[in-house]
Subunit: 409 residues, 2 copies
């Protein structure tokens, strides 16, 4: 098969709102006119490059759907190719046709972010940047720090001074230039965006155009893993909105190329304590409004004003998708349910299963649906959540083991 090798200068990035187009060989994440996020133009022809996944990279397997980057091996940590499990047990318990669990915690920094970080960093290098940055204290910070280390780029990570040292260390270990800033989070974000322009730093935000593009690969894998008989619903925990946008685009491109028959309905999952997209969705609004006092234990989706919020609303409209919000209690319950099937995930990942339960309980799901939860990151990342669980244990002395075990049979 011939490699199609999209060259970066032949690719356009397009405003998701007004359709104005820009060239992909410069850094441009938002429309000059609308200030809405941009998107790489759709791929309308392509297929899968068969090969041994143990030796392949996701960008090689789905090469028809990505620009050609000659530095893949300098940047990739072999992200993607995550397991898809089907839980008959949970499908039966909840009452569903099928329940799929896509476990993204197998990625190199144990979250979905790596799929987008690799394409973002590759784009940065391709268009000549030697420095990258991000503002985050969670999965994205660790991911950008790791890929910055791998690729040898100067890497800046900005975090708010309010976060505890236990969240700092797993970022600092990759040895980025870590800057703790006193100030409100959104102000740090705005300031760092301005300064990265000034100092020639490629800012790898959570809905950066080429980050979102990387998330497509998750949809491609789901297609392969379900033998191209895709689920009816795909649930994604929503922070900035970049993740769900990328996944939906992936399905849309595979449909355009005739690889699948339909695009699943996308379900944007938010936490009740911080649900700007949900609020707008329910109100039928076309713009998200800032949440004043966000408050959820699912910090990965505690985003008061999602950068891609408006675009998620537009996407849900054409996709016939929906938006669900779940409480922290429902999230903790779902986290326990997942652990009961052998999967330890972050609270925001569990939010998707909580939403599935809710949709069934509220009779939105009839019971024969095929549903997929995108489980975004490892439960080891946020150990404070454990304290919300009632975890049982027995204690005994060495010579009491026999009688204790006897009583437990």
């Amino acid at each position: 098969m011939t490699r199609r090798c999209f060259k970066i200068k032949n690719i356009k990035v397009i405003c998701t709102k007004c359709g104005k187009s820009y060239l992909a060989d410069i850094l441009q994440d938002r429309c000059d006119d609308c200030n809405e996020p941009l998107e790489v133009e759709m791929v309308k022809k392509g297929g899968i490059r068969e090969g041994n996944l143990l030796k392949q990279n996701m960008l090689e397997r789905y090469a028809d759907f990505f620009p050609y980057f000659n530095t893949i091996n300098d940047v990739s940590l072999r992200e993607g190719f995550s397991p898809l499990l089907e839980s008959e047990k949970l499908a039966n318990e909840i009452g569903l046709g099928k329940l799929y669990l896509k476990n993204e915690s197998s990625n190199p920094t144990w979250s979905f972010k790596d799929r987008g970080t690799v394409t973002g960093v590759l784009h940065a290098i391709k268009i000549g940047y030697k420095k990258i940055a991000t503002v985050s204290s969670g999965n994205m910070a660790a991911s950008v720090a790791a890929y910055g280390a791998k690729s040898g780029l100067k890497t800046y990570v900005f975090v708010s001074s309010q976060i505890p040292i236990e969240k700092i260390n797993p970022i600092a270990i990759y040895n980025p230039t870590l800057v703790t800033v006193e100030g409100r989070y959104d102000l740090i974000q705005r300031q760092s965006l301005r300064l990265s322009n000034k100092y020639g730093i490629y800012m790898l935000n959570s809905d950066a155009t080429f980050r979102v593009e990387g998330y497509k690969s998750l949809a491609f894998e789901i297609c392969e893993q379900t033998n191209f008989d895709v689920p009816d619903y795909v649930l994604v925990p929503n922070s900035s909105g970049g993740h769900i946008r990328g996944i939906e685009k992936g399905f849309r491109e595979f449909k355009e190329c005739g690889l699948i028959k339909k695009v699943p309905k996308m379900v944007c999952v938010q936490a009740a304590g911080c649900s700007p997209v949900y609020n707008a969705f329910i109100a039928g609004a076309d713009k998200v409004e800032r949440i004043d006092k966000p408050n959820t234990l699912a910090h990965g989706i505690e985003n008061a004003l999602p950068l891609s919020g408006n675009q998620v609303l537009r996407m849900l409209k054409w996709n016939n998708g929906l938006c669900v919000s779940v409480t922290d209690e429902e999230i903790i319950n779902a986290q326990a349910t997942l652990a009961g099937t052998g999967l330890l995930l972050q609270p925001e990942s569990a939010a998707t299963l909580a939403a599935v339960k809710k949709l069934k309980k509220e009779k939105y799901f009839r019971g024969d649906e095929k549903v997929l939860c995108v489980l975004t990151g490892s439960g080891l990342k946020y150990t404070a959540a454990f304290e919300r669980h009632e975890l049982e244990q027995y204690t005994c002395k060495l010579d009491e083991m026999d009688s204790l075990l006897g009583s437990l049979q």
Copy 2:
């Protein structure tokens, strides 16, 4: 290709010392005569079942080399298929032909243990057990708890009362019957072994015969990932010795089947603060002796009297392998080196890279060797190690960001 379907009753397990054989359809981990570990008989004919890894399980791909288990989907969390990275940067810095990094932290519970837990649990079910157990407070406990949850078996995890709550929670979340026992670790181990016999519990120890058998798949993947041109040396951090035994057996079976030309030299890596195998190896002894006061931060290999220690010594002899011990300081340095390439691993994983550096420094390696480090588990598992690193960070106010960034360019 016809599925060969080894039936469990047709398989023998053989004493690694005296060669006495037993049937595999009962639970038998040690020789009645020698008290040495048993090993599943060698597979001498077989190949790889090609297929799409996104839909395949490691036991399906390498079906010729494993017994047939009809409950795979009830037990597997889709372990294995971990990335192999090649670091040209580190190979150049250290002075080696090639340096491969096999990253086992992508597994379902983020360590290599899952490869052995899945085969152990499958064997337990196959021979009629409904209960499983382990004694561990680390990777193995989490892995057995997760697979116990997945497979719906009653699962007991015994831990020593000395371990902190932060190590307990990520095990307890899977909801096993968790028993904290006051007493010395090896005494708890001995007592639980006796009691699991009494109560009909399948004890999934660290060198259990069918656990070790599962580790073969790591060798098989390395063969595929290196295009069957295997490394000269494979370094494995050593605790009980089950892991390195399984990997070596995997290479040996592939060689027997004509899939590779040679078996790599195995390098057993220990921490200087607890190196019973190293001590015996250097002394030319054929038995390991208990370490009185083990003391290393690499707790995963802090094993005072490895259950498979004597067998590792026998194996290293026929394999022409070697044993290396590294200090905690060397381990921490190597952990930083790995993080500098984008990989955050446990201290015991980093011990392998520390050993590579040492072997080069001491001129055991000439400089053209192809070397592979088995990186056993995620660095998120042991956060206390971060405190041993000098991690830099800058602090500033919002309005100082500009001048700080300016000074850092």
